[in-house]
């Protein structure tokens, strides 16, 4: 099956229907392995067992940026190549990216609590992730603000690409702002060289979470395609009724329900 075939929504639905159960199973297996290895890893001499939050925090933080990258590519697909599934991919990815970003914030906050004494600290890294979270939420609001999906897609695509360009700038500015106000942060959240016993579980978890994203993303894309079909059917039903001057709409109703069943 060529890539062009995949672009057809019906073929996409058929393919993902077959592939999703396997992806879901692989995700669960990898997550289980990763969590098991994480539990087995030794405690940090300084942070104790709480360092293990890193196994969830770091993959989530990495994914929050990865998903924005996926959305950026999808946005290019919408604007440059006009790929039919590109805007579906972009729209479906946004809430998932926001969720990963939120989890990164949450786990980061819990990780920092023993060290800082508060649940939140305006350090450079967490602050950048918080701004990324706001940008995700803004993007989701934009998707919902425009009724027509294709117009919303173009606006969202522009915003996504602008965001992608701006993210390094924001990150740099926040780093600068942070050094301006505070001495160099003593605590390193997993930045130091990692021992192999940490590195392998971390990589496994990273792959597992990535698989989780792929699974959820494909499932969300299926939902979005079906949602758009429902909308098209409703619009077709409305317009079909508008053109009929025959009040006895019995036969037309039969046709409408047959089409709805075949979708």
């Amino acid at each position: 099956m060529t890539l062009i075939d995949l672009a057809n929504p019906t073929r996409f639905l058929a393919l993902t229907a077959r592939v999703l159960p396997w992806l879901a199973a692989a995700t669960i297996i990898l997550l289980t392995i990763g969590l098991y290895q994480a539990a087995l890893a030794p405690d940090d001499y300084q942070q104790g067992a709480t360092v293990k939050i890193m196994f969830i925090h770091v993959p989530n933080a990495w994914l929050s940026m990865f998903v924005w990258g996926v959305m950026s590519i999808a946005s290019l697909g919408t604007l440059v190549w006009r790929h039919p599934l590109a805007d579906v991919a972009a729209k479906a990815a946004a809430p998932i990216g926001a969720a990963f970003t939120f989890l990164a914030l949450l786990t980061g906050s819990l990780w920092g609590r023993p060290m800082w004494g508060t649940y939140w600290e305006w350090d450079a890294r967490l602050t950048s992730v918080l701004i990324l979270f706001l940008m995700y939420l803004g993007l989701m609001a934009l998707w919902r603000a425009v009724d027509d999906p294709s117009r919303a897609a173009r606006a969202a695509a522009v915003l996504t690409l602008v965001g992608a360009i701006n993210l390094p700038i924001i990150k740099f500015s926040v780093d600068w702002w942070n050094t301006l106000h505070q001495p160099a942060s003593v605590m390193r959240m997993g930045g130091s060289a990692l021992d192999k016993s940490f590195l392998i579980p971390l990589l496994v978890m990273a792959v597992a979470f990535t698989l989780l994203f792929v699974t959820l993303h494909l499932a969300a894309m299926r939902n979005e395609i079906l949602r758009r079909r429902v909308r098209s059917l409703q619009m077709m039903q409305a317009s079909r009724m508008a053109f009929s001057s025959d009040m006895a709409a019995g036969s037309r109703e039969d046709n409408a329900s047959k089409e709805a069943g075949a979708a």
């Binding site: 305006w122 602050t127 701004i131 803004g138 609001a141 942070n178």
Partner: protein, 222 residues
């Protein structure tokens, strides 16, 4: 279902279904609060002292900016004409719309306050105080802001002009809201005095707002 209940239910339904939903106000609130440390610096002690002020300013701006379109949509699609011709007094209809707006857009701000208090390093008691003052004060913001929204329809202007007109009217609410929160946190002054005045301001605005808005709308129906 009574007329006013039907109007409140309709407005809440539309607020939840259309556009970013009413939660866009919460997102704006969150954004404003996040902006503050970049201007003020990440010093947690300073942020917690400024906390109630930052939260109140954020809620104030979020309220006013979402109120702008309170009557515009109904005016544009002809619903306002019919509302005027119904057997419900226009003042009550305005009050009902403002109430629906407060429920859909104001209450979520109050619910979001604990999370934002976390970002500003406020302890639980301080956050609870701010949330309580917001609960008492946001009705005043909504019912005062509705006057600006009605003027926006009459004058066919919106946006910043209306905000500029209505903001001075909101200053007393801001003063007593922040003062009541600070009384709990820092506290030589009692909580009761500013809080009572805050409640009084809300009650007064519940009366003045609908009358002023209705009067303004009647003149603007041409």
């Amino acid at each position: 279902m009574t007329a006013l209940a039907a109007l409140i239910r309709r407005d809440i339904r539309i607020a939840l279904r259309v556009g970013g939903g009413a939660l866009i106000g919460v997102l704006f609130f969150l954004t404003v609060v996040v902006l503050m440390p970049f201007a003020v610096g990440p010093d947690l002690a300073l942020l917690s002292r400024l906390g109630p002020a930052i939260l109140w300013l954020g809620a104030l701006l979020a309220s006013l900016l979402t109120l702008d379109r309170l009557f515009m949509a109904d005016h544009e699609d002809g619903s306002l004409d019919l509302i005027t011709m119904s057997r419900t007094p226009l003042e009550l209809a305005c009050a009902a719309k403002a109430l629906a707006h407060w429920l859909a857009a104001g209450l979520p701000l109050i619910v979001a306050t604990p999370v934002l208090g976390l970002l500003l390093n406020l302890d639980m008691i301080a956050t609870a105080a701010v949330a309580l003052t917001l609960l008492a004060g946001t009705p005043a913001l909504t019912f005062t802001g509705m006057i600006g929204a009605a003027l926006a329809v009459t004058l066919h202007r919106g946006g910043l002009l209306m905000a500029v007109l209505v903001l001075p009217l909101s200053i007393p609410v801001l003063i007593f809201g922040v003062a009541a929160s600070q009384a709990v946190i820092v506290g030589p002054m009692t909580f009761g005095a500013p809080f009572s005045i805050l409640c009084a301001l809300s009650l007064v605005s519940l009366v003045i707002g609908p009358f002023a808005a209705a009067a303004s709308l009647r003149h603007g129906l041409d």
